[in-house]
Amino acid sequence: MNEITNEVIGESIYLNQLSSGLTVAVARRPGFKKVFATFATHYGSIDNTFVIPGTEEPVTVPDGIAHFLEHKMFEKEGGGDVFNDFAALGASSNAYTDYTSTTFLFSSTGRVAENLEILLDFVQRPYFTEANVDKEKGIIEQEIRMYLDMPQDRLHSNLMGALYQNHPVRLDIAGSVESIRTITPELLYQCYQTFYHPSNMVVLVVGDVDPESIWRQVERNQDRKGFTLQSPIARIFPSEPPAVRVPRVEQRMPVSAPLFMIGYKDTQISGTGDALLRREVAISLMWQMLLGKGSPLYAELYQAGLINERFHARYSGGTTFGVSAIGGETLDPRRLESWLVERLPNQELSREDLARLKKKEMGEMIGLFQSPEDLAYAFNNMFFRGIDLLHYIDVLSSITLDEIQEVRDTQLQERSRAVSLILPVAGNESKED
């Protein structure tokens, strides 16, 4: 395997690619008891319109199908589920779906090779029937209802729906109770065959393991399956205008105080790799300089009683969308909003703050390598955008104050701004009987 090292933080990642296009990566953690492995596909909730390989016409599939597919991968032919196969080896297993990816994982403190074999096999062996698909609808409906009762989740979801007019990132990752009812085994197979090809996937193992033996094992496993290279997937996204769908969105829920979130849609997002990384790092540093816990504006807002310690400002995005989201609980959403709108474009950006925050980011990157779950999330997320995680430190250190100023000018556009509010329901006292 190829060892890619960053000298400054003294960390390496081993990487190689099979002839099927599958990438294998290893991050060594000497002395760690646990091995954490992920098998991820570059397929998330936003990939709802695409061309099935070997066909011509694009298809549009029901909202929430990527997440539904994630659930169904655990089902085995002839009954039983994969959780038990891992449990037999003392491993725990899970999976998650976000806007752009689906990740299957296990964590174990022994019998790594056997667990890795199960991971590689179950993700590459779909088994969907009318009965097992119908059964899952009840479970996922309860999962969706659980999210519907989570105010923070609604706050963010409503913001995305306000910011985006067309892009599917405006929809909930799990879809809706109605949309998942239309999912069939045939639709699941279509999505599976399009997006679960090895060339669209990456295996990552984090722990006290030997990279070469991991590589050889994955190679042997994949050789048996005889995958051939697939042409690139045609994903189709609608064009998204710079303007938001609506500038404000409000929902009433049983909460104790209003929840506020202001968002800016990134209209400049483009490309992959280091250019994308550079823009993301610059925007992240900008938000920390403007509204991080050490910033003067944060102190003023706190002093004025407008925010609490859980107030945050952060950027997240893929290759086709990007959003800055700033918010938290407040008693006076209007005042907080006008304060932010007025001050964010004019707040002074200082060289000293930038230097200090670069130190902070560097420490956090070193710390990231100590948390296998967080490392895997960051690595996979960057990998699917063509970004090398280990370039992070170099990009970080070369960002200039002028670049921060420039991204601020492009980010803080009024037409790309929306506010989401969760307000308490009237007479919000609970009743008992």
């Binding site: 760690f32 659980m146 902070k360 390598f369």
Partner: protein
């Protein structure tokens, strides 16, 4: 100095006369984690003081007089993670101040970040910013009281946590363990800056105190730091009292405009962490509802499709068990019945070899995995300290491996349902309650 290693936990150190320190020396981590605790009884008279104090300590010190200065100092220390917080184990409230910082050997110029970290902790714990009258800044206290009040009210935003708390509160019937770690709004309202400063001084002087550190460091540094800064004549740690059930099959139904019902059941187990039968109880709860192979997950979720999650969890300090699931409102009777059937199966000893094997393996995995996370190692050591014994690490794994089905049946005999709490709809919210744009 030579300090004996506790082979079972991997920690070096000791605790006596209400004062102690522990170090877990390891090369595994690139960070150093330091966590200091004051341990107090949950008491309605003081719980609000304990909840508020960490918020004041975060606001300013003599060297860094405001929040911004503290935060900028942390940023300069390569993004050190700082928390001043309150926690709860059984009937104890823990006030904790913690710092996780990158070890200097992994940083450019190799700065002594352990020294910097201890200095930081020292500032926060021993040198809080005071006003000209020698008490806490009035403004800080007023602001933090207001924010903490809102935080207490905000429990209602998290339906799962809310339901769990309401269950425990109902089971407690006014006993201290039913108090939340954040205390009550009505008690908090009475806290004055002077009284809070008095509380701080008392806690500082007399409450049981322990400093725990994990990382590549010399235990002597921590030992001498504690000896130099803390006196040894403190209150002894009082063992946590397990709970005794006052209800039997008591049912509480609460209505709110929610999309999903939350069922929570509380049981008395009669065994705490220190009990020799605790490993059997762990096996019981694990087989019943600890994992994806457990009876509750399989029967409530996989077979009946009635829930996304369904779990059973022990409180090691209080000798109680909680079962929880998020369900459709109308499925309440069906879910209650299925849960009852699973408990009955446990009592009958209807447990196969596979369930035994999977559960032992899963605990094995969990216990070893904790050792890769500094804060979990510290949490484990604290639990052992506060609960006065119990097994951990390899010794716990071995004990779990030797548990038999009859031993599980014996603990199952003593498990009794105390209270069922169900959060359900008031029918004011409809299924597709959409957000409205202006």
């Amino acid at each position: 100095m030579q300090h004996p290693i506790e082979t079972e936990t991997g920690f070096v150190g000791h605790f006596h006369d209400g004062l102690g320190w522990y170090v877990y020396p390891t090369h595994r981590f690139k960070t150093i984690t330091l966590q200091a605790f004051w341990i107090n009884d949950m008491d309605p008279a003081t719980v609000s003081f304990g909840a508020l104090l960490p918020h004041i300590l975060k606001r300013g010190t003599v060297s860094w007089p405001n929040f911004t200065a503290i935060q900028q100092q942390l940023e300069s220390l390569y993004g050190a993670t700082f928390r001043a917080d309150v926690g709860k184990i059984g009937d104890k409230q823990l006030i904790s101040v913690s710092l996780e910082i990158i070890h200097g050997q992994y940083l450019p110029g190799k700065p002594d970040t352990l020294k910097a970290g201890l200095e930081f902790l020292n500032e926060v714990i021993n040198r809080p910013r005071l006003d000209s009258d020698g008490a806490f800044e009035r403004e800080f206290v007023t602001q933090e009281k207001e924010l903490l009040t809102r935080q207490i009210h905000a429990l209602i935003n998290d339906k799962g946590q809310y339901a769990l708390y309401r269950l425990i509160e109902t089971m407690a019937k006014g006993r201290p363990f039913g108090l939340r770690k954040l205390g009550r709004v009505e008690d908090l309202a009475k806290v004055t800056p002077d009284a809070l400063y008095g509380y701080y001084q008392t806690v500082h002087r007399t409450s049981p105190f322990v400093l725990i550190a994990v990382g590549d460091l010399d235990p002597d540094v921590i030992a001498s730091y504690v000896t130099a800064n803390w006196n040894g004549s403190r209150r002894e740690l009082v063992k946590t009292q397990p709970y005794t059930p006052l209800n039997r099959d008591y049912e509480v139904i609460e209505r709110q405009p929610v999309q999903q019902g939350k069922i929570n059941l509380g049981y008395s187990t009669r065994r705490t962490f220190a009990s020799t039968e605790y490993p059997a109880l762990m096996m019981y709860a694990g087989i019943l509802g600890g994992f994806a192979h457990s009876k509750l997950f399989v029967n409530v979720r996989e077979k009946a499709s009635l829930a996304y999650y369904a779990y059973a969890r022990l409180d090691a300090a209080l000798a109680l068990m909680v079962i929880g699931a998020g369900i459709e409102f109308d499925d309440y009777p069906a879910v209650k019945r299925i849960i009852g059937e699973q408990l009955e199966a446990m009592r009958r000893g209807d447990i196969d070899d596979q369930e035994m094997h999977f559960t032992v393996q899963a605990f094995h995995n969990d216990i070893l995995s904790e050792e890769d996370v500094p804060t979990q190692l510290i949490g484990r050591q604290m639990e052992k300290l506060v609960l006065g014994g119990g097994l951990s690490g390899e010794a716990m794994i071995q004990a779990l491996e030797s548990v038999t089905v009859p031993e599980i049946q014996r603990v199952a005999e003593d498990i009794t349902l105390d209270t069922i709490y169900f959060l359900t709809t008031d029918h004011s919210a409809t299924g597709g309650d959409e957000a409205q744009g202006e």
